[in-house]
Amino acid sequence: MSTLLKLEKLNYGYIDGGFRREILKDLSYDFEEGTFYTILGPSGSGKTTLLSIMAGLDKQESGNVYYQGEDIDVMGLNNYRRNKIGVVFQSYNLITYLTGLENILLAMTETDNKIPGNKKELAYALLAMVGIVESKADRLVTKLSGGEQQRIAIARALAGNGDLIFADEPTGNLDSETEQEIIRIFRMLAEEYGKTIIVVTHSNEVSKLSDKRILLKGGILRDL
């Protein structure tokens, strides 16, 4: 399998109480296509920071992030977020005055990637794939349960037709049954649709179901 995302000598730190705290130290790692990764690590180890840098939401102090060999800084972070990746957050981060369907359509409208066929039909299909029926898709997202909102968030991450999905503690607010269902969706996306899934999590249950488990500790990543 070829490398989809390459991290090269990433460094990141911040000043805390007058002392500089190094979060990432010359961190390098290659993520392969069609693989479901989980990143584990103790609290404060920098998991969310690393995910933010990989998802183009934040910038490293030094080092490079390459997507399919292209530096994402050169590509433009906004362009990268819009066309190459999808992000799923712990608290879903959906637009509350839109319905589930409209949240998906928003991502579809923004991407420069070609969306095959009718956008609305495709959005319904994506939602159906993550277990949201039409009647629920047409409701305002605030009228849906946490699990349903997270499914919509996953569908939205797929709507841009990117090959890479990041998820930051996606099951943190969900019960164990729903957690299993969400993990099942991620696995399906990796196995059946060839998506690369990178999930930051505390949960051993989640990590057990991933293809590769990585530990972030001391500012570097190592396979478990």
């Binding site: 969310t48 933010s52 998802a55 939401l57 934040d58 906004n78 362009n79 990268y80 977020r81 819009r82 066309n83 999808g86 992000v87 957050f89 712990q90 608290s91 981060n93 959906l94 637009i95 509350t96 005055y97 839109l98 409209e102 359509l105 928003l106 991502a107 579809m108 409208t109 923004e110 991407t111 305002l140 939205r156 841009g160 930051d168 503690e169």
Partner: protein, 521 residues
């Protein structure tokens, strides 16, 4: 799901916020319509009145300014010098102005009163009321005083305003021609009434005297002969005049016959100058013989009044060009001369409207500035509660420009609704408030000001400025919401929203999606 669709959904799904903002725009819209409506109605009333007024501009000596100048002098010699060098309109300037393509016709003429010798004037109809004045002659006999009864218009150009406007229409023969003027021919055109009164026709002659019967003996003693003050003129045309005197006017009962428009005769100015200048020169020679210290240099002062026009009036094609015409030529004028479009009177009449318009414009500006501040604050405060939503949009790749665009569209859509509702209520409000303020303003003016010079009447000398009263001017004042005004409201509303969005836009540009989402998570 583009920015417009998102904006529409935000408005419809956050009805309370939208409603509050809409009410703000509605109130702002009402005040702006109130201000603009009143201001436009005042301006329109002035424009409509101006359009109905004759587009006449008079080139004349600014007596008031020159009087102020002489009053300011203290040195005796300077005062004498000022009176000897009385300001005059320049023939060169007057002719240059005729070349302006806005000029439709012009009167370059002088006028004088005279006495009919071998014909009767047209009676005014007030003769019985006026009665006769008497004087005692040199022999101690009581004589009846005879008023001048003919008004002579001496024109330098055939393209007179009265002809161009159709006030004078030739019924027989022809008007004074350029050839008559160039040749200095002793021809005259007279009114139809004057011709009928005396059974006169084209080709007949009339004789006028430039001095009154009571002066004849005096001039004879001075060495003048009958020929010196008698002027024989051949009738080249008979015209009909639309000018009438107002028999109900206060002045009518005392009006001398020469003030009747029926007693106006028109002659070439060159012929008039010849006759009058030679008469003036003879007078000068007589007084010079009595006062040997008088030099020939002073002769010009005696004759110039007859060789230069006393009045130059231009009639423009469009009344709306009057202000520009004056502004364009003011720089060409010699000191203490002016171009007068009767603006002072018009301005005085229009003062209540100007005051109304002035305050209405102030209200508009205050409202606009307040609106910008209020909308900026409301948007900035709303933005704080929408940071999360913006962070989400940025995280999925929506550009900051599109976020600002959505915000702008939300405001503009709400503003459109608010202003549309305000168009209805604002026009009613503007009508009522505008009438109230105008009533108060005109009542105040009437209480404290003397408007006695607002009216015009026929005084023998043609008044080329249209008679207009304040009531006529104010009757043109109607507050209505015209399509132009509606357009302006929407344009202004868009500008307010555009300016109000600037600060919030900077706030959005500074937002960092990671920071927002981390805080939320």
């Amino acid at each position: 799901m583009n920015a417009f669709q998102r904006a529409y959904r935000y408005i419809t799904r956050k009805p309370t916020k939208s409603m509050l903002l809409m009410i703000t725009f509605f109130l702002i819209g009402n005040l702006v319509i109130l201000g603009l409506g009143i201001s436009q109605a005042a301006d329109n009333a002035k424009i409509l009145t101006r359009q109905q007024m004759r587009a006449a501009v008079s080139y004349e000596v600014d007596y008031e300014a020159y009087w102020r100048y002489t009053e300011s002098l203290t040195d005796e010699d300077e005062i004498n010098k000022a009176y000897q060098n009385y300001p005059r309109t320049s023939a060169e300037t007057a002719l240059k102005l005729t070349e302006d393509n806005r000029v439709k016709a012009f009167n370059y003429m002088t006028n004088t009163i005279a006495y009919s010798k071998d014909f009767e004037n047209v009676p005014l109809g007030n003769e019985e009321n006026r009665g006769n004045s008497t004087y005692i002659d040199e022999n101690g006999n009581e004589q009846i005083y005879r008023d001048p009864n003919i008004m002579i218009y001496a024109t330098m150009f055939p393209n007179m305003i009265e002809i161009a406007e159709g006030t004078f229409t030739i019924t027989e023969g022809s008007f004074i021609s350029q050839n008559d003027i160039d040749q200095g021919r002793n021809v005259v055109i007279i009114t139809k009434e004057l011709a009928d009164q005396n059974n006169l026709h084209v080709g007949d002659t009339i004789t006028v005297s430039t001095i009154g019967p009571y002066e004849v003996d005096m001039y004879r003693e001075m060495g003048f002969t009958e020929e010196d003050f008698s002027w024989e003129l051949e009738i080249s045309g008979i015209y009909n005049t639309l000018n009438e005197v107002d028999p109900n006017s206060q002045e009518f009962q005392w009006m001398p016959p020469y003030q009747s428009p029926k007693n106006i005769v028109v002659v070439p100015m060159t012929a008039y100058s010849e006759v009058m200048s030679s008469f003036a020169e003879k007078q000068f020679r007589y007084y010079q013989s009595q006062n040997p210290e008088m030099t020939d240099d002073e002769l010009e002062n005696w004759t110039s009044g007859y060789t230069e026009p006393s009045r130059v009036v231009y009639l423009l094609n469009d009344p709306m060009d009057v202000e520009d015409f004056i502004a364009d030529h003011e720089g060409d004028l010699s000191p203490y001369t002016k171009l007068n479009a009767n603006n002072e009177t018009f301005k005085k009449l229009a003062r209540p409207l100007d005051t109304l318009s002035f305050f209405a414009n102030i209200v508009v500006w205050i409202v606009i500035i307040n609106a910008i501040v209020i909308i900026t604050l409301v948007t900035a405060l709303t933005l704080k509660t929408r940071e999360y939503e913006i962070g989400v949009m940025l995280s999925i790749g929506v550009s900051k420009i599109k976020v600002v665009l959505q915000l702008f569209l939300e405001l503009i859509l709400i503003a459109l609704i608010g202003f549309t509702l305000a168009v209805g209520s604002g026009s009613l409000l503007a009508g009522k408030v505008g009438d109230m303020v105008l009533d108060y303003q005109t009542t105040s003016d009437a209480q404290y000001e003397d408007n006695s010079d607002n009216g015009y009447y026929w005084s023998g000398d043609a008044n080329y400025f249209t008679e207009v009263s304040q009531d006529e001017l104010l009757s043109q004042y109607h507050v209505s919401v015209s399509p132009k005004l509606i357009g302006e409201i929407y344009l202004l509303g868009s500008a307010v929203v555009l300016i109000a969005i600037v600060i919030p836009s900077f706030m959005i540009m500074r937002l960092n999606p990671k920071q927002i989402l981390l805080e939320q998570n």
